[in-house]
Symmetry: C2
Subunit: 440 residues, 2 copies
C-alpha cells in the first residue's frame, strides 16, 4: 500500500480523552475513531490488525474441528426469557423495541441462540461432538465507557460453543479449546497463562481465564515463573486424542497460577522465592464448562446410544479480538509508539522514501515495494512528501516491525538501512539483502 | 471438510413459511436459520458462500484503490440530525435508547458517519481522491419481512464512499466503481446490466442500478440483447486512466437498458426486434453520485490548490452480499436444488463415498480428499452412513459444482464418476484424472 493513497489520519497531539496508553496510541496511530461514547470506527490500519487477529483465532479454532457460522446481532427477548437471563441481565443489555413493539436486544453473548439452533437441528448423539463458533459484534451498555476498545460498548467477540453427549465428552471439548487458546495467543506473540477463574454470569462448573502480563494490567495475578518459559503445543497436536490433550492441559495447570480473587498466599509462598511472580495481568480469553445450564431450560436433548434422551452438555469459549488489539498494545509499546508482534502487525514492512523526487531513491523504493508485495509481504510504502523525521515518527508510532530507510546518501553506496522496530537496531544492507531478509 | 464433522442441517421437507425459491432452498440446504422475523443466522454452509462473495467484492474494491475500514453498527441519532435524515427516515430505522436515554439507531447506511470521519481527518485536496468502504451488518425494520435473506431486516452491505475535490474527480471515482461492479458481478458468474436509476432516499444527480436477469425477478426490465454477450473489463484495466475508465462506462451505457420506472417504449421499439429483451430483473448493486448533499450540511471541506475551501464531492456505492446470495439462487437453480457458479460455491467439489466401510472405497475417497485439500480445493467429503440416494440429493441440493461419486463397482474397474452439477453430465474417469481435472 502506498501511503499517499491510504487513509491514515495520524494525530500529532496526545488526545486528552484517553486515559490509558493503548487508547492514546490507537487514536494517535489512526487506528480507531470514536463515533459515540464507547463506540468506535475501525480505520484501515486498525482493521488490518483486527483482521489478522481474527484470522489466527479462526485458524486455531478450525484446527480443533470447530465449525464457523454467524449469528445475527439482534436477538429476540423471548429467547432470553427461556433461559431466565432476560431479567437477570441488568442495564448493560441494550434493549430495543422494533416497529411492532416487540422486545429485542443487541446480543451481548449467544448461549441462548446457539442452544436454540442446535436444539432445532440435531436429534442424535451421532451428530456430536460439535463445536460451533462465530466472530460477531456484540454490545454491552457500560455505564461509563472508557479505555477505548479495551472496554468499548460495541465490541467484537469470538464465541465458541461445544455440545457433547456427556460430561466426559464435554471435558474433552473444553480441553481442546484450552489447547487452541494456548496456541492462539502464542502465535500472536503473547505469553498467556491459564488461571482458574470464577464463572460469573455465564455460570458453570469449570472455567479458566487466559491472562497476559502487562504493567498496566487491570488486576494483580500470581504465578510460577516457569510459565513464561513453557512452549505452546505444536501445530500437529492430535485434538482427537483425549488423553494427549488432557496431558497438555495438565502440564499447563500443575504449576501455581491465580488471579487476585482466587489467590492463595500459602500455596504461592511454597514456590521457590526466585520463581514467585506477582504482576499485573490482562484477561484475553475465558473458557467455561457449564454442563446442562442452558440445555435444560431449552430442553435441548439428543438420543443417546442407549436409546434414551440426554440433555446436551455444553461449554462456551470467548476471545475478544477488539479488546485484544488494545491489550497487545498495553503489553508492547514504548515512548515512540506501538511495537507489534510480527504476526499481527498491520504491515510487516515499511519502506521510507527519505527523498521523494530523487530518481534513484524513487526507483529503489518502487523496486523493493514491487518485489516484496509480489512475495506476499504486507508493505506500507511511505511515498508522501513529509520530511524524513516525520516519516520515522509515523513508522515507529504505528509499530511497523521492519522499516527500510532509503535515502540518497546510503543509496550512493548501494545501501539502504534496515531498522528493527523492537530494539531500534539499524543495519546497512544492499536492497537485495533487505529483500532476502524480509521476503518471508 | 468431512461431512460427518460438519454442521449441515438439511431439511427434507419444503418449509411452509418460504414464499420464494431461494428462501426455500436456503432453508432446505441448511444455509440459514430464522431467529426472529427477518433475522437469520448464517449456518456454516451459508457463511461460506457469503464470505466468498465478500472476498470477490473486496478484491475488486481494492483493485480500484478503495480502502477498507469498518464502521460500527450502532450510530448516534445526532449524526442523522445533522444531515436532516433522522426525521425523514420512517419506521424502517431501528431506533434505540441507551441506558442514559440517548437516541441511538442501528445504521441502515453510513453516509452521515463516513462524512463525519472524513471531515474530522482530512484538510487538504492532497488527501483526495479517497474511496473508503466497509462490509457491515445493517438494519432496516421492514413492516412485513419476507423472502428470507433476499429482503431481511438485518442484512450485510458493502458500502463504499468516494471523496473528491470537484465534480470532475467525482465522476472519475463514480466510473471506477461502475467498472469495479462490472468485474465483481462477472467474477461471480452473473450477467449484470447497468441501468440508469432513480436516486431515492440517498439523493443525488446520477445513479445506476446493476440488474441481473431471473425469471423470478422483482421488476420488469428492458434492454438490448447485446448486453448479454459483452465481456467484462479485464483485470489489468488502469483505474487511474480517467479516459479509459470513461470509455468502459460509455461502452456499457450506450445500448438501451432501463428499469420499469425509467422505461421509454419508443426508444425500446427502435431496437431491432430480435434484439429487444424484456425480462424480469433483480437489483444487485446500486451506485450514486450526489455531489455535496452530505458534505454541505456537515461542512466537510478541504483546502484546494487555489488556497480556498471547497466542499467535498461525494458518491456512494452499495452491494448487498446477503441479498446477493439469494439473488444468485433465484437466477440459478433447478428442481433438485441450487446450482452455484464455481466462484462462490461453498465447496467446489463433493466426494460422495457410496459405500462407507468398504476399504477400497474408503481409501480412494480419503486419498482424493487429502490430495484435493492439499491442492487448495474446497472439498466436502460425504463420509456419513447415509444411503447413496440421500447423498446424491444432498450434493445436488446444496449445489456442489463438481461431484466425485466413488462406489465399489466402478472402483473395481479403477474408475470413479465425475458429475457436473450444472448439466448433470457424468463421466467415468480414474481417480488420478479426477484429481487432475479438479486441482484448479
Amino acid at each position: 500500500m502506498r501511503l499517499s493513497r491510504y487513509f491514515l489520519p495520524i494525530l500529532r497531539e496526545v488526545p486528552k480523552e484517553a486515559d490509558i496508553v493503548s487508547h492514546r496510541l490507537m487514536l494517535r496511530a489512526g487506528m480507531i475513531r470514536q463515533e459515540s461514547a464507547g463506540i468506535y470506527a475501525w480505520l484501515p490500519l486498525g482493521l488490518r490488525v483486527l483482521n489478522k487477529i481474527c484470522n489466527i483465532i479462526r485458524e486455531e479454532q478450525n484446527r480443533t474441528g470447530a465449525v464457523e457460522l454467524l449469528m445475527p446481532t439482534i436477538q429476540s427477548a423471548d429467547l432470553w426469557r427461556e433461559s431466565g437471563r432476560y431479567d437477570d441481565y441488568g442495564k448493560e443489555m441494550l434493549r430495543i423495541k422494533d416497529r411492532h413493539e416487540r422486545d429485542m436486544l443487541f446480543g451481548p453473548t449467544n448461549e441462548e441462540m446457539i442452544t436454540e439452533i442446535v436444539r432445532g437441528s440435531i436429534k442424535s448423539y451421532k451428530s456430536l461432538p460439535l463445536n460451533l463458533y462465530h466472530i460477531q459484534w456484540k454490545f454491552r451498555d457500560e455505564v461509563r465507557p472508557r479505555f477505548g476498545v479495551y472496554r468499548s460498548r460495541e465490541f467484537l467477540m469470538k464465541d465458541a460453543y461445544s455440545f457433547d453427549l456427556d460430561a466426559e465428552g464435554a471435558k474433552h471439548s473444553y480441553n481442546k479449546m484450552f489447547v487452541a487458546y494456548l496456541r492462539t495467543f502464542a502465535r500472536m506473540g503473547l505469553k498467556a497463562i491459564p488461571m482458574v477463574a470464577d464463572t460469573g454470569p455465564i455460570g458453570g462448573n469449570l472455567s479458566h481465564e487466559f491472562i497476559i502480563l502487562a504493567s498496566t494490567g487491570e488486576s494483580e495475578v500470581f504465578c510460577h515463573g516457569d510459565y513464561l518459559e513453557m512452549a505452546p503445543p505444536p501445530a500437529d497436536v492430535n485434538f482427537d486424542d483425549a488423553a494427549a490433550i488432557q496431558q497438555v492441559v495438565n502440564d499447563w495447570t500443575t504449576l501455581y497460577a491465580a488471579t487476585e480473587e482466587k489467590h492463595d498466599a500459602a500455596t504461592f509462598a511454597a514456590i521457590p522465592a526466585e520463581r514467585q511472580m506477582a504482576a499485573r495481568g490482562i484477561e484475553v480469553g475465558h473458557i467455561f464448562y457449564f454442563g446442562t445450564k442452558y440445555s435444560a431450560p431449552f430442553n435441548a436433548k439428543v438420543l443417546g446410544p442407549d436409546g434414551a434422551e440426554h440433555l446436551i452438555h455444553m461449554g462456551s469459549y470467548g476471545i475478544g479480538p477488539s479488546r485484544l488489539v488494545a491489550a497487545m498494545i498495553e503489553a508492547s509499546h514504548d515512548d515512540a509508539g506501538i511495537i507489534w508482534p510480527d504476526a499481527v502487525a498491520p504491515f510487516q514492512v515499511g519502506i521510507l522514501n527519505l527523498k521523494v523526487g530523487d530518481s534513484a531513491v524513487d526507483a529503489a523504493c518502487a523496486d523493493l515495494y514491487a518485489k516484496l508485495t509480489a512475495a506476499g509481504v504486507d508493505v506500507l510504502y511511505d511515498d508522501t512528501d513529509e520530511r524524513a523525521g516525520s516519516k520515522f515518527a509515523t513508522a515507529d508510532l504505528i509499530g511497523l516491525p521492519w522499516q527500510i530507510l532509503v535515502g540518497p546518501k546510503s543509496l550512493a553506496d548501494g545501501k539502504v538501512e534496515l531498522k528493527r522496530r523492537v530494539d531500534g537496531s539499524r543495519e546497512l544492507v544492499t536492497p537485495a539483502e533487505a529483500f532476502e531478509r524480509l521476503k518471508g
